[in-house]
């Protein structure tokens, strides 16, 4: 971050607020939904998580990329733009480590640094949802404001879903699970693979019949970006799939769409859940978990009939629905993305549960 070579950039919010900062990553303009994230590590994972599709992600921790990012993995950035207070240079001469700045530039992602990210977070928190833009020039401000105000994340699922079916972890004899891809994360896929499941990832619009005809041992409705109610067709497919009686597991937007399919309702939350420390309580065990979340919609608790579903986990801060166990069908769903890092996670048991269901050993 050479002090002398900084180039101006601006973050403009839908209410006309302008934050002055400096350009990071690619130059140009990015219009999107502005969201904050409270992680103090995992910056690359955030950028590459499809659930950030269409969003300008602001880090609340003032420093990002202290150890740079792994330049060896050509991972796609889904976030529309990146907002930070300060990024760190990394030692020169090691091509496997890129600075955040360089990484964004190589991926053509627009970023801004040098702004008061806490002020931004407070604005996002108080006003709910904000569109905004990162731009390197303020001329044509009125038309920029038009672009900002008219922006909405549309067609997110189609933008992030796999173009054609994809097989992961094909090992003979392993049960094969169908993953309906609304923007699945690689870490989720790895977690299921590690539990001896073969995955077939389907484009979101694959018909239920086609999927069922291949006789999967279970179904995963993946996490992903966007509004779960945007496309009624997708919900209808889920209805059919759930009626099959196959072990089913929904995550994130998949969890919300499953609830819609089961007659539940979805609401836009007052300010969403963003960050790595969302506390979740597993009711039956009195067990708590710190979870990673990024969502603006949630399942309305009262909308689900007791005879259909049981709410098994809630968010401790606002009591919102975090997990549902369906009755009469072997299906459950989780609002957050369970982590399954190799050394420790308080949420990896969720993958174990699903794997056990698929194997019929529940």
């Amino acid at each position: 971050m050479d002090y002398d070579e900084r180039a101006r950039a601006y973050l403009v919010l839908a209410d006309g607020t302008v934050f002055k900062g400096y350009s990071m990553g690619a130059k140009g303009e990015a219009v999107g939904e502005v969201v904050f994230n409270t992680c103090t590590t995992s910056f690359q994972d955030i950028l590459c998580d499809p659930s950030y599709y269409g969003q300008l992600v602001a880090q609340t921790y003032p420093l990002v990329g202290m150890r740079g990012v792994d330049g060896r993995l050509p991972r796609r950035i889904y976030a529309k733009g990146y907002i930070a207070r300060e990024w760190s240079e990394v030692p020169q001469g090691d091509s496997s480590v890129l600075s955040i700045d360089e990484y964004l530039r190589q991926n053509g992602t627009v970023g801004i640094y040098g702004i008061d990210t806490r002020r931004l977070t407070r604005a996002l928190r108080d006003k709910g949802y904000f569109n905004g833009a990162i731009t390197d020039k303020l001329d044509g401000f009125d038309s920029l404001m038009d672009r900002i105000q008219s922006y909405s994340i549309r067609g997110a699922v189609d933008a992030v879903t796999v173009p054609k079916p994809l097989l992961i972890n094909t090992i003979k004899g392993n049960p094969r699970v169908a993953v309906i891809d609304y923007g699945y994360s690689e870490k989720m896929a790895a977690a299921l693979s590690q539990r001896g499941l073969e995955l077939k990832v389907y484009p979101a619009r694959t018909s239920a019949e086609e999927i069922l005809s291949e006789q999967p041992a279970g179904i995963v409705f993946s996490n992903g970006p966007g509004d779960p109610e945007e496309d009624i067709d997708l919900i209808k497919q889920i209805c059919t799939l759930l009626q099959s009686g196959l072990p089913s597991f929904g995550i994130g937007v998949g969890h919300q769409m499953m609830a819609l399919a089961m007659g539940g309702k979805i609401a836009k939350m007052p300010k969403g859940h963003r960050g790595s420390n969302q506390p979740v309580l597993r009711r039956v065990a009195g067990q708590t978990m710190s979870t990673l979340q990024n969502h603006a919609y949630d399942v309305v608790a009262e909308s689900l009939d007791d005879s259909v579903a049981e709410i098994t986990m809630i968010n401790i801060n606002d009591q919102s629905v975090e997990a549902i166990q369906y009755k009469g069908i072997p299906a459950f769903s989780i609002q957050f993305t369970p982590l399954d890092n190799p050394v420790y996670s308080d949420t990896s048991w969720i993958y174990d549960d699903f794997a056990a269901m698929v194997r019929g050993g529940e």
Partner: protein, 998 residues
């Protein structure tokens, strides 16, 4: 209430020593508050009078008694508590509780130990068992072994390779460690430390010098839910004690994998130990990430827990206490947000830096090299929106006379000289590193020498380059950039040579545990230079209609400005609140109780420096400021506040000028009060705290110093009320005090030193900023000194306090204050006392007579009281006569007297039989051999200040210290000991006193 716990005994940590400061007091304070919130009856035991937890009324029963297993047993028998909470008592409190359990004293009682399982904690204390336990969950413990002699140590060294570290085994109170690079050093260390261990064994350990040092703070509830509160990264690599290392919260230079690895290990460990409460885990990590080890586990609470608590806003002691009562983390409300719970892992949106403060200047001959044993006496916490800003604030907050990391002594050094300097680990090394960066020494080269991660060096280089930029006709943007990095206006003006700065105003951000995800309800601020000013935005309904007073805290503790100041700050805030004021506090000391968010109405974590204080004044616009308890910076802060137009309660600069010696002398002469300037030997010293209202005063009691010698009064054993002053003397002293109040002193609290010389009373000095006896006298007399001091400053009349005026009659008990030293922690420091204060803490003994109170005090100070054995005298000529009655009494008590030639000769002339011992230079066997032979139980050793043989005396004293033999360097204190011994009573024969009833 989840469990059937209705009555809890909380164990304090005893006196402040290096390595165990007021952090435990913070924890006990928070814990008591949590227990009382739950309606639990509380019993508190702590021997440290400076503590805020053993105040009258701080708990339902308050015992200021020696902190040992006997006391605990007696309290358990008397009070029959349901449970004991030992985790906030530091190693001392925890060990005493474990001993209580292990000795079976809890068998057959209903009393259980909360928070920790004693058997599992014992396992943590025993490295072998710990290694096995951690091995069972796949976590490596730093390779080490307990060995019984040099040969076994050598075998270990041959297996792991040098360098290795040696320390006494099973000796939790000892912080002593040695770093060995070869066989020779190893033999020396084994010999030295085997004696310090109860079982004569030493611990040998693989050295991980140069590895990264990381600490994780985790907390767990009875259902097994646990969270990671925060990580700490020590900027100095392993090899320097984490307490002596500059650190940053959260950890900065870990990869995601490394972070998860250590975080998960921490959570596994707390689960494995089944702790219900907090746990601190200290790791080392090879810089390439290929290997890591647990270095140390602190179940419960430690210095770093206090740091994390203050840096993140997560109230560890409060949550741990409630968890111990059976609450789940998600059932414990977060007081800062009011809407989240204790199972939210704090999300930080700022950088916090801890900088240690050392007090080496108080000690003679002390080594300033940092190493494996902690030497810092205090620390400062600073918070900023960047590492640079937090670091710059920390440098200022140290109060060492600099506002940038440029230390004048390094300013003219060449790059080569600086490289030489940074190769050693002296306590000023970081400033040499900074200077080297300024001289363009490459980051990689410095990283190679110091093992400091290049990331931190790059940040420091950023500061260095900015400092150079400022000196080179800076533009407005450059100045703004400097401001964002934490430069003060004063520094920018000085460096740039201009008086014209761009217009900017301070803004403040909040510490809210949640990175602004929720609105905070408890306001704690730090300064930043952004547009939003949350200190203005935050409106507190509690402030409505109240006048606002700004109270300045003490900053980092040092010898002479210790926890007593914080005692005063907290009580002053309470006094102001009680009188309807809205209180704002500035302090940066993470070990201070005052930085607990429950204390003041608003808290600012900022340096106690003029410009920073003025910034707070600008935002808060208080009607007055209290600087009386801010310590060594008081004069500067007074003038800063006064020039900002805010009156200083208690007079500020005017009072300081009055008390300056030359003015004071004239004022006293005018008031016809005898004044003594020269130091007279053999003058009885005594002092009083005066609560003056401008015309009258209240004197809670006279405190007599046991020492007649010319040492710092804070280092003397003292007693309240005075024991050997005749009534006529007391009356004369009272008259002078009343006169002082009527004719000389303004309203406020003053400490008056007096001397009795040639049967006349003289005033020897008056101080308005040195209050180390205040907490002790408050507790000894039952007078809430600070509350009354606040009343005085606010213009109330002393006569209205309900105690009349003049000298308050004693209530019958005697309270003895015994200073406690940390010489064992300071390598090669001489233990002899002089005019510079050296004690780091104190204990108090209270009983019906002086001798009993003294015995309690001496026992509480950790002295091993022996009733038979050898007493060794080697005293300087000026003390020889005074040594006679001491030796006589010891002799009468059937001790064997040993003395070096001159002293023995003098004693024999006075008909006291003594065995002559050779001095060090007189061949062997000599005095050191005698000490090594375990025949000596007390050493009485004084030196003439200018004597050549002082180094020999020092060697003798250090050897005795290592052998844990009590050392007396003045005859008065040794004589006092004989008084105690001649009563032939043990502490157990003396009644315990509940301070609430005294």
């Amino acid at each position: 209430m989840k469990e059937t716990v209705r009555k809890v005994m909380v164990i304090g940590s005893g006196p402040v020593v290096i390595g165990a400061s007021a952090e435990f007091d913070c924890a006990c304070y928070e814990s008591l508050r949590a227990l009382r919130e739950e309606g639990v009856e509380t019993i508190l035991v702590n021997s440290n009078p400076t503590s805020l937890t053993n105040e009258r009324g701080a708990a339902d029963r308050v015992y200021i008694e020696p902190l040992n297993v006997d006391t605990l047993r007696r309290i358990v028998e008397k009070e029959k508590p349901d449970a004991i909470l030992p985790v906030f008592g530091g190693k001392k409190g925890m060990e005493a509780a474990l001993e209580l359990y292990q000795n079976g004293f809890l068998d057959g009682t209903e009393t259980k130990i909360l928070s920790v399982t004693p058997d599992l904690i014992r396992c943590v204390r025993d490295r072998q068992e710990l290694a096995e336990m951690l091995g069972g969950i796949g976590i490596p413990l730093l390779a080490n072994s307990i060995v019984s002699g040099a040969e076994q140590a050598l075998e270990f060294a041959q297996n792991t390779g040098y360098p290795i570290v040696i320390r006494p085994a099973y000796s939790p109170e000892s912080a002593a460690l040695a770093y060995c690079r070869n066989d020779e050093e190893l033999f020396k260390a084994v010999e030295k430390y085997a004696t310090a261990s109860v079982l004569g064994q030493v611990l040998v350990e693989k050295s991980v010098s140069g590895w990264k040092e990381l600490e994780f703070e985790v907390i767990r509830d009875a259902a097994g839910n646990c969270i990671c509160i925060s990580s700490i990264e020590n900027i100095d690599a392993a090899g320097i004690h984490s307490g002596d290392s500059i650190s940053m919260i959260p950890a900065q230079t870990l990869t995601e994998y490394e972070h998860l690895l250590l975080r998960s290990a921490s959570l596994k460990i707390i689960s494995c130990l089944q702790i219900i409460g907090g746990c601190h885990i200290h790791f080392v990590l090879k810089p390439d990430g290929s290997e890591y080890s647990v270095v140390n586990i602190e179940p419960g609470f430690c210095r770093s827990s206090a740091l994390v608590s203050k840096a993140t806003g997560y109230q560890i002691a409060r949550v741990a206490t409630k968890a111990a009562l059976g609450y789940r983390l998600y059932e414990i409300k977060n007081e800062i947000t009011g809407c989240t719970t204790a199972c939210n892992e704090p999300a930080l949106d700022y950088c916090a830096v801890k900088f240690p403060k050392w007090s080496f200047e108080h000690f003679t001959g002390v080594s300033r090299t940092l190493g494996l044993a902690m030497q810092a006496t205090g620390e400062t916490l600073s918070i900023g929106t960047s590492f640079e800003m937090a670091f710059m604030k920390a440098v200022r907050a140290l109060n060492i006379g600099i506002d940038t990391p440029t230390l004048p002594k390094f300013a003219n050094k060449t790059a080569d000289e600086l490289i030489q300097i940074i190769a050693s680990t002296d306590n000023e090394r970081i400033f040499a590193v900074y200077q080297a960066l300024k001289k363009q020494v490459p980051v990689a080269e410095i990283a190679d020498i110091t093992r400091i991660d290049p990331w931190f060096l790059t940040k420091m280089k950023n500061i260095a380059e900015t400092e150079l930029l400022l000196a080179n006709s800076p533009q407005e943007d450059d100045m703004k950039h400097a401001k964002e990095l934490g430069f003060t206006d004063t520094a920018i003006k000085r460096l740039s040579g201009t008086d014209h700065l761009p217009a900017w105003s301070p803004s403040f951000k909040m510490v809210d545990t949640c990175a602004a995800e929720f609105d905070a309800v408890k306001p704690c601020f730090y300064s930043a230079w952004d547009e939003d000013n949350e200190a203005r935005i935050f409106s507190d309904p509690a402030a409505k209609g109240k006048k606002k007073v700004l109270v300045i805290g003490s900053g980092p503790f040092s010898v002479g400005y210790g926890a007593e100041l914080d005692y005063c700050v907290v009580n002053c805030i309470k006094a102001l609140k009680k009188r309807g004021f809205y209180t704002v506090l500035v302090n940066n000391n993470p070990n201070a109780v005052s930085t607990d968010i429950s204390v003041s109405d608003r808290l600012y974590i900022e340096p106690i420096c003029p410009e920073d204080i003025v910034n707070v004044i600008t935002v808060e616009r208080p009607c007055a400021v209290v600087t009386a308890y801010c310590g060594e910076n008081r004069n500067q802060i007074d003038s800063a506040a006064e020039s900002a137009g805010v009156p200083v309660l208690g007079g500020g600069g005017k009072t300081a000028r009055l008390l300056a010696e030359k003015h004071l002398e004239r004022a006293l002469i005018e008031a016809n009060i005898p004044f003594i300037k020269e130091k007279y030997f053999n003058a009885t010293c005594f002092e009083a705290i005066l609560l003056c209202d401008g015309s009258e005063c209240l004197i809670p009691g006279f405190t007599q110093l046991i020492e007649k010698a010319d040492i710092h009064p804070g280092d003397s054993i003292s007693v309240t009320p005075a024991v050997s002053l005749e009534d006529s003397v007391i009356r004369a002293a009272e008259t002078y005090c009343l006169k002082l109040a009527a004719d000389v002193l303004p309203a406020g609290m003053f400490r008056v030193e007096m001397k009795l010389y040639d049967n006349s009373v003289f005033v020897a000095g008056i101080s308005a900023d040195s209050f180390y006896t205040v907490p002790y006298i408050s507790k000894a007399t039952g007078i809430p000194l600070i509350d009354f001091a606040a009343a005085c400053m606010l213009g109330e009349k002393t006569a209205d306090f309900g105690y009349g005026t003049g000298l308050l009659p004693s209530k019958g008990n005697y309270a003895v204050r015994v200073p406690v030293f940390s010489f064992d922690k300071l390598e090669s420091a001489d233990t002899v006392l002089d005019k510079k204060m050296k004690s780091t803490g104190e204990v108090m003994g209270i009983a019906g007579c002086f001798e009993d109170a003294l015995l309690k005090g001496l026992t509480a100070s950790g002295m091993r009281i022996k009733r038979s054995g050898g007493v060794l005298f080697t005293v300087c000529n000026s003390d020889k006569q005074a040594a006679v009655p001491v030796a006589e009494r010891f002799s009468q008590l059937d001790f064997t007297i040993y003395a070096t030639a001159g002293t023995a000769n003098h004693l024999n002339h006075n008909y006291i039989a003594s065995n002559a011992v050779r001095k060090l230079h007189e061949g062997s066997p000599n005095i050191i051999d005698l000490i090594n032979s375990n025949k000596i139980v007390y050493l009485i050793c004084s030196s003439e200040k200018d004597r050549d043989s002082i180094s020999e005396d020092k060697a003798i004293r250090r050897r005795a210290l290592e052998k844990q033999i009590p050392v007396f360097t003045t005859m008065d204190s040794a004589l006092a000991l004989t008084l105690c011994l001649s009563m032939k009573r043990s502490v157990e024969d003396i009644a315990m006193i509940d301070i609430n009833q005294a």
